[in-house]
Structures are given as structure tokens and as C-alpha cells.
């Protein structure tokens, strides 16, 4: 404002009057003359028209924002509060979990797991076995190595096991036969193939009944082993 010179002030005053349709004929003519003399003012005049246009559109809205009168109609309340609930739906206060219940649940779950472990691991130790453990051994003769290998394979095949204890010394075999530790752990039946003697011995105990029988290898080892297997099955059936 301070930088406006007298001509600027006059131009603004005339422009406002013309835009507000309050200018006299003389003032109209004066503005026209001014615009003719200074064409660069035409753009400013147009901008002033636009400013007034915005003012006429917007200022009633600004004034409306500051209105305080009027009472909100009570009948609209429920409709609007329903909208609030549907849209913003005050989230139900997050329910604090019942700690005592949670801890109780955890405790019972822990107990259940522990019980399951006991059932799976400990109880079988006390359950009577349905069959004895079969242990195989062979006292090798001084024959060919390939023959002994075939006999071991036959033993494994007959009892579906991977372990055959091989002895070359009769004393060592006897020590193994009489080792009481095996029997303490669980019922065990030991089957010993004595190649030198040409016999298969069955030693052990099942349900307090001793097993002690020797089978001679008369025809071939396979036939003898089948007889041994049948005998053991017969003696240890439930």
C-alpha cells in the first residue's frame, strides 16, 4: 500500500468501483482513458475482476464457518451416531487376557506333554516285552574266509538283523554266552553257530523258562537255522 503511487491508488479505486458496478459515467470514462494510456494495466484490471470473483464466491463460506447460531436437530443424532459407529466403530477395548486362565492352561498343557513323554518313553520299560531280544554269534572254524562270510549272511538273513558277533576263540565265546548283563536288561535269547562243532546252540530265558538246546547241522546250515528259528518262536510265543 505504501508503495502505491497516486496513479496506482486512483486506478485501484476506479477499478473497484467499475467492478462493483458503482462507477459513474465519468469514472468509467476515466478508467477507460487510463487503460488506453497504460495497456499493461489491462491485465491487472482483469486480475482484480478475478480476485473479486473469488471473494464473492468464497467469503460467504468463510463467514458461514464463523456462524454460531442454529441448533443441531435432535432427530438427526441417532442417524449420525450410527454412522460414527459404522465408520469409526470405536474398537472394542482389547480384552485383557485372563492371566490366571492363561497360566492354568499353560500348566495343564505342560503336564499333558510331560505325561505323553512318560507314556512313550518310560512306560515301555515296565511293559513286558512281547518277544525276546535275539543275539547272534558265530565261532569261526579254520575254514575258508568266504564260507564264514556266507554263514554270517545266512544268520543275518534268518533273523533279520545286522549284527553277528564273530569269535575265533572258544573262551571268548563262552564268556559272551554267559554274560549276565544282557539278561538283566531284557529277556535275551542267544543263538551261537559253532562252525567247528557243526552245531547251533540256543541259550537264554523267556518268562522264567530256560531255553537251552543244541541243533546239529546235519544237512545244511540254512535248514538247521530254520529249525532253530521255529524252536525259538515256539518257546517264546505269548
Amino acid at each position: 500500500m505504501n508503495s502505491m503511487n497516486v496513479n496506482d491508488e486512483r486506478f485501484f479505486d476506479l477499478a473497484m468501483k467499475v467492478i462493483a458496478r458503482q462507477a459513474s459515467d465519468a469514472e468509467h470514462a476515466e478508467l477507460d482513458a487510463l487503460l488506453a494510456r497504460e495497456p499493461e494495466l489491462r491485465a491487472e484490471f482483469a486480475r482484480l475482476q478475478a480476485d473479486v470473483r473469488v471473494a464473492k464466491d468464497a467469503l460467504p463460506l468463510v463467514n458461514a464457518m464463523e456462524t454460531t447460531g442454529g441448533e443441531f436437530p435432535a432427530y438427526a443424532r441417532e442417524r449420525l451416531q450410527t454412522k460414527v459407529r459404522q465408520t469409526l466403530g470405536r474398537p472394542a477395548a482389547k480384552k485383557e487376557p485372563d492371566r490366571s486362565f492363561a497360566w492354568g492352561l499353560r500348566w495343564w498343557l505342560g503336564l499333558a506333554v510331560a505325561t505323553a513323554v512318560v507314556m512313550l518313553v518310560v512306560l515301555p520299560m515296565f511293559r513286558p516285552p512281547t518277544s525276546p531280544t535275539i543275539q547272534l554269534a558265530m565261532l569261526e572254524s579254520g575254514g575258508t574266509r568266504g564260507s564264514a562270510t556266507d554263514e554270517v549272511a545266512l544268520l543275518k538273513q534268518t533273523w533279520q538283523t545286522t549284527v553277528v558277533h564273530s569269535f575265533s576263540d572258544a573262551e571268548a565265546l563262552r564268556a559272551w554266552e554267559t554274560n549276565p548283563a544282557d539278561e538283566r536288561r531284557q529277556p535275551t535269547v542267544k543263538i551261537i553257530y559253532d562252525a567247528t562243532a557243526g552245531e547251533v546252540r540256543v541259550l537264554g530265558r523267556w518268562k522264567e523258562k530256560p531255553l537251552d538246546k543244541t541243533f546239529l547241522v546235519e544237512r545244511d546250515l540254512a535248514t538247521t537255522l530254520k529249525l532253530v528259528k521255529d524252536y525259538v518262536a515256539e518257546q517264546t510265543k505269548r
Binding site: A50, P60, N63, M65, E66, G70, L80
Partner: protein, 201 residues
């Protein structure tokens, strides 16, 4: 009436919304009345309620309390304009010849008839709300009053000076200050500036 708690509104607090409805009602009603009174006076209240409903949808995008009323005014304005356009279209479509562009002189003083040249209708709600907030902040109430008297009530500067008890030079100064503030507000609204440039061509 005290303004509501914005955070409580955003959380859907019932009591806060009761307060907000009462606080915003004068604004939405006044804006709806500005646009609809000459043509659809029976629908002013309905549009005002619809504007409050829409406020519920928009409240989470509001960042500060002083945005609420401008947004409410903006929503009410656009809803009212939309209602008028629909009604005009229906009347034209049904072949009725009733003039909807003939409000009384009194009505003209209070509202702008809807038209294709409505500059504010070209802004989206957020832009219009921003413009209104800018104008409210930067145009002093006495400046606005003088602008209203001069351009909308067609009072002369002498009449304004007399009625408001101001020196006549002050009326001119207020007009000038208001115009400068409006121009700055428009320049902060690129879309409105573009519309104005088109308007000036």
C-alpha cells in the same frame, strides 16, 4: 460452544461427536442455506446432515482442529452444488420450463446461483477447505465485512463508512488489503489459479 477433541472424534467417541455435531451444525447449515435457499429451501437441513455424515468419513484425514470447519464448509458446499445440479438436470430432463435461474433480488444477495462458471466447484473438497482456511486466517473480519458490503450488498464506500463508523479512507484501505490477501490465497491454489486464468481469457 467448545470445539470437540479431534483425537476423540477420530476414535469414534460418542460424546465427542455429539459435541462436534453441535459445533459444526451452524457452519454446514449456513453453507447449505447459501447455495440452496433460493432454489431448494426445503433441502437445506437434509444437505447439512449429509455433510456431517461425510465429515465422519473424512475425520481421520484431518490433522488439526482448525481444519474441521473449513472441511465441513467445503463438504456442505459441494453437496449443495451437486444437489442443485441434479435437480436442474432432472427438471431439464422432464421438460419442465420452470426457471431455476431466477432467484429474487434478496436471494441473490445471499447466494450465488449454481452455474458452470462456479470457480469453487472446480476445486476438490480438500482444496476448497484449504482456500477457506487460508482466507479465514488472512482476511480480518472487518476487511471481509467491507468487501461484503461493497461487492455483495452494493453499498457505496461512503455508505459503508457511515454504517460502520469508519473514515472513508479506511474503507478503501480495507478493500485493498482484502484484495491483496485474496490474491495471495488464490496463488497458493494452483488449480484455482489455472481456472482464473481460463476465466480471464
Amino acid at each position: 460452544m467448545n470445539p470437540p477433541d479431534l483425537r476423540a472424534l477420530q476414535q469414534g467417541d460418542e460424546a465427542a461427536w455429539d459435541a462436534a455435531f453441535g459445533w459444526l451444525w451452524p457452519t454446514v447449515f449456513a453453507v447449505a442455506q447459501l447455495k440452496l435457499h433460493p432454489f431448494l429451501p426445503d433441502e437445506v437441513e437434509d444437505v447439512a446432515i449429509e455433510a456431517l455424515e461425510e465429515m465422519v468419513d473424512k475425520v481421520r484425514s484431518v490433522k488439526s482442529l482448525d481444519e474441521l470447519k473449513p472441511l465441513a464448509a467445503s463438504i456442505a458446499h459441494h453437496r449443495a452444488v451437486s444437489r442443485l445440479r441434479n435437480r436442474f438436470a432432472q427438471k431439464r430432463g422432464s421438460g419442465k420450463t420452470e426457471s431455476l435461474d431466477a432467484p429474487t433480488d434478496e436471494d441473490r444477495n445471499h447466494s450465488e446461483p449454481v452455474s458452470e462458471e462456479s470457480l469453487l466447484a472446480k476445486l476438490d473438497q480438500a482444496e476448497l477447505a484449504c482456500l477457506l482456511r487460508d482466507l479465514q486466517r488472512n482476511l480480518k473480519p472487518e476487511w471481509r465485512a467491507v468487501v461484503g458490503d461493497y461487492f455483495m450488498s452494493a453499498m457505496s464506500q461512503r455508505e459503508i463508512a457511515s454504517q460502520r463508523g469508519l473514515p472513508i479512507g479506511t474503507v478503501g484501505v480495507y478493500l485493498r488489503r482484502a484484495q491483496e490477501a485474496i490474491r495471495k490465497a488464490v496463488e497458493r491454489q494452483p488449480k484455482l489459479l489455472k481456472e482464473l486464468e481460463a476465466f480471464l481469457r
